[in-house]
C-alpha cells in the first residue's frame, strides 16, 4: 500500500468524525486532526479503533498521542505495515 492509498483511507476514516467539514476540501498531510478538522478527544478514540481495524495494526496510546496531523497518522500506519 503506498502513501497516497493510505492517505485516502485515513481521510475516509476521519470524515464521519470531523466537526469542520469545510476543512476536508483542502485536507493534506499537514492538516491537524484536532485543530483543523476539529475531531474531539472522544472521537479520536473511535478513529484509532477504525485505523486498527482497517489496516490490521495495533496502535498504542503513546503512538495515538503523538499523532497531530493526518500525515502523522499516515506515517504511523506505513511504519507499522513495513
Amino acid at each position: 500500500m503506498d502513501q497516497q492509498e493510505v492517505f485516502t483511507k485515513v481521510v475516509g476514516i476521519l470524515k464521519p468524525f470531523v466537526k469542520a467539514p469545510e476543512a476536508l476540501a483542502t485536507v493534506s498531510m499537514e492538516t491537524s486532526v484536532l485543530k483543523d478538522l476539529k475531531v474531539n478527544s472522544a472521537r479520536l478514540v473511535d478513529v484509532v479503533l477504525e485505523i486498527e481495524d482497517t489496516f490490521g495494526i495495533a496502535v498504542t496510546d503513546a503512538q495515538a498521542d503523538s499523532v497531530k496531523t493526518v500525515g502523522d497518522a499516515v506515517n504511523l500506519i506505513l511504519a507499522a505495515k513495513a
Binding site: K35, A42, R43, V45, L49, D61, A62
Partner: protein, 197 residues
C-alpha cells in the same frame, strides 16, 4: 489546579459506545469496566467516567511533567469521588443532569476548596470556544468585582502540544491572575471551572 469536561449525553454519535467492548477496553480500567457492568445506566456512567478522565488529564497536563493521554491510566474510584493518575490523586465532583442532557466533571488538586463551575447551553451554530470564554469571563468579572473588559483568557504558545497552545489562563490588565481556569465544550453545551484560591 483544576480541570473540567462536559459531555452532551444526547449526541447521537455516542449513543452506543457503552455496548462496544473495544472502546470500553481502550478507555476504561478493569475496575471501571466491572463497575459499568453493574450499573443500570451504563451510557451515563460511561460518559461520566470519560468526562472525569478528560478533566483530570487537563489538570495533570498543567502540573509540569509531560503526560500521554492514555484514558485507561486515569482511574476513577468507585464512588466518583477521586481520579488517580500515577502519583497524582484529584478530587472529583460530577454533575449529571439527564433532563438537560449533560454530564460535567471537575477535577481539582486536594486542598483547594474555593472554586466555581458552570454549564451553559448555547444556540445552534454558535462558536462554542467563544461562548465558553464569555461565560467564564462574566463569572470571573463578578467574582473579582471588575469589568469583564479588564479580563482576557489566553492560551500561550506551547510547541508540541496538540494544537500548539497551552492550557487557558485568566489575565487581568494583561497580567496572569492566580485563578486557575479550565474550559470545555461539547455539542449543545459549554462549561468552565475556576479555582479561586
Amino acid at each position: 489546579m483544576i480541570g473540567d469536561d462536559v459531555v452532551d449525553l444526547d449526541d447521537p454519535a455516542i449513543a452506543a459506545h457503552h455496548l462496544r467492548p473495544r472502546f470500553l477496553d481502550r478507555v476504561l480500567h478493569p475496575s471501571e469496566r466491572a463497575a459499568l457492568s453493574a450499573t443500570r445506566s451504563p451510557k451515563v456512567f460511561l460518559w461520566s467516567l470519560f468526562a472525569a478522565k478528560e478533566a483530570t488529564y487537563k489538570l495533570v497536563s498543567k502540573l509540569g511533567t509531560p503526560v500521554i493521554f492514555a484514558h485507561a491510566e486515569f482511574v476513577v474510584d468507585d464512588g466518583f469521588r477521586s481520579v488517580r493518575h500515577r502519583d497524582v490523586e484529584a478530587v472529583l465532583e460530577i454533575e449529571t443532569d439527564v433532563a438537560r442532557g449533560f454530564t460535567h466533571a471537575v477535577a481539582r488538586t486536594a486542598g483547594s476548596s474555593r472554586y466555581q463551575r458552570q454549564v451553559e447551553a448555547i444556540p445552534v451554530g454558535a462558536d462554542a470556544s467563544r461562548e465558553a470564554r464569555q461565560a467564564l469571563l462574566r463569572a470571573m468579572a463578578a467574582q473579582l468585582e471588575c469589568a469583564p473588559s479588564e479580563l482576557i483568557i489566553e492560551r500561550a504558545p506551547k510547541p508540541g502540544s496538540w494544537d500548539g497552545f497551552g492550557p487557558p489562563r485568566l489575565l487581568r490588565h494583561g497580567v496572569p491572575t492566580t485563578v486557575d481556569v479550565s474550559l470545555s465544550h461539547d455539542g449543545r453545551f459549554v462549561s468552565f471551572a475556576a479555582q479561586l484560591w
